[in-house]
Amino acid sequence: MGLLEIISEAVGTLVINKMRTGLAVLGIIIGISSVIALISLGQGSQQAVQNQIQSLGSNLLTVNPRGQSSGPVQAAGGSGTTLSLDDAKAIEDADQLTTVESVSPEYSGRAQVTAGRNNSNTQITGVYPQYATIRKINVQSGAFITQRDVDAIAKVAVIGPQAAADLFGEGVNPIGQNIRINSQTLRIIGLTQEKGGSGFNNPDNAIYVPLSTAQKQLFGASHLTSIAVEAISPDVMTQIQNEIGYFLLSQHKLTDPADADFTIFSQNDILNTASQITSTFTSLLGGIAAISLLVGGIGIMNIMLVTVTERTREVGLRKALGARKKLIIEQFLAEAILLTLAGGFIGMIAGIAISYILSNLINFPFVIAPTSIALAIGVSGAIGVIFGWYPARKASNLQPIEALRYE
């Protein structure tokens, strides 16, 4: 009996028992579609996180002072005072650092800000004009901090939309208004565009002032809390990270990288970490879905075992008429594999549809990996073989007389 004939006979048997076939396939459909939908969801969220991080600047490198350590105790990163404006200028001016596009020296601190009766604890960042381009901050009205403001230690500030709303109320134009920070009065000269974000580094809830003003007038500090370096392209991130590392080591007259009093990390590092987290998440979701797939497979086995018992007479007759064991195995295996493949195919379509709807609902990118398609087909076929094998063997081992006598 040829393969085609075995398959067409199996199709015939499955069509005759529509209800049972449908129920058996349902388990696989649910399993495969949930695997595909959940993996797609995981990958969509991964993509969403990556897009968000990349919107912060994919060719950005941040140098922070290393927290001072005394014995085994290490202070928090960024709390050190080892970075200076000179370091930033040296990086910008160094001829050997050919991949540096621009450098932004920064001093950040939190302070109580008051405007009239309102006050708010806000992140104050002392910046150079480059900050806006490097950190992708756009001004929706007014202007950003200029070099002249920095040179003049001008008492001016650019405010984020959320901070402006907190201090002046929703919808009020803050430009020209005064705020007080650490008993200094600053005039608002610009309002940034909303960027989205949350937590302590929310750019919408920040106030930007000239670096010189922040250091000398507001916080009385001479060091930097960070230096942001923009590379000419995202491809040179690893190279530039190493080059700046060695450059700063020599700048600080250090030889052993282990002694470095600063740390450098790139958006890539964050990206990688975030990717790792989301891919763990994806595997977790996939794992849960795989369990439902397993249950579906056991369902197939159950149905096939029932089929074998129910068709004992038929199997006995086939053996009496001269069907070899192999043929009986092939017949039952073909049915099981057809069941699971059909389930896999329908499940695949359902899974893609579900992930398309979900990704539209929660605004994730719609991602279907070819691997999850291959997985659906491969796994469902494999389930057919694995869970169909035992019932098929059981059928082939029936003794023809026993089987013929069976009522």
């Binding site: 009996m1 038929e314 086939r318 001269g322 007389i401």
Partner: protein, 235 residues
Amino acid sequence: MINLSHISKIYKTGTVETAAVSDVSFEIKKGEFVAIMGPSGSGKSTLMHIIGALDLPTSGKYVLDGEDIQDLSDDELADIRNKKIGFIFQAFNLLPRTTALKNVMLPMAFAGIPKEERLRIAKRHLEQVGLADRINHTSAQLSGGQQQRVAIARALSMNPSILLADEPTGNIASVQAQEIMEIFQDLNDKNHTVVMITHEADIANHAKRTITVKDGRIVDDRKNLKQKRANHKNN
């Protein structure tokens, strides 16, 4: 053709041994029409299973068409049943929801005969048993006698050395039983070997030779001097 010598079949239930067939020897030659007679429990069914290579004897030697049946594997026995024996069962045992044509083609499919040839042979045999106009009927659409005739066409499909019928008329009306006997005698006239198991003396009278079994032993083996010819049209 069929040669049984000192065949015994012993069933064990716990410590109790029951001999369903004990020390049976006989020979059936090509072209014979033999009825194996006996009351129920006489061992005639066990004997038929052994002759049909559905079961192996506990001891003794069985040679079918020059082939020694003992010590064959499951698959080798399947091939023997497929090529040398045409089975006709009391309960017809056709595949449900399957057409007469497909039922007749089944043993040929197991033998790997190409589909066109299977179709041609199956149609010819269905014609031979008078069912040319019923080839696409399923068993539910056929009478008992018609179903048994499909089963005979199926048994003939592989052109076996013997036709082995187990109570072939047990489940059908007597007029149709006459039809079946007529087909058997017709086939036998064309030099087919027919072995038929029955407990009805009237049916056994249609054979040329009757072997009577009782308690697992042969008690009588004789030629039917007056073979009863079946002719249902005259009944």
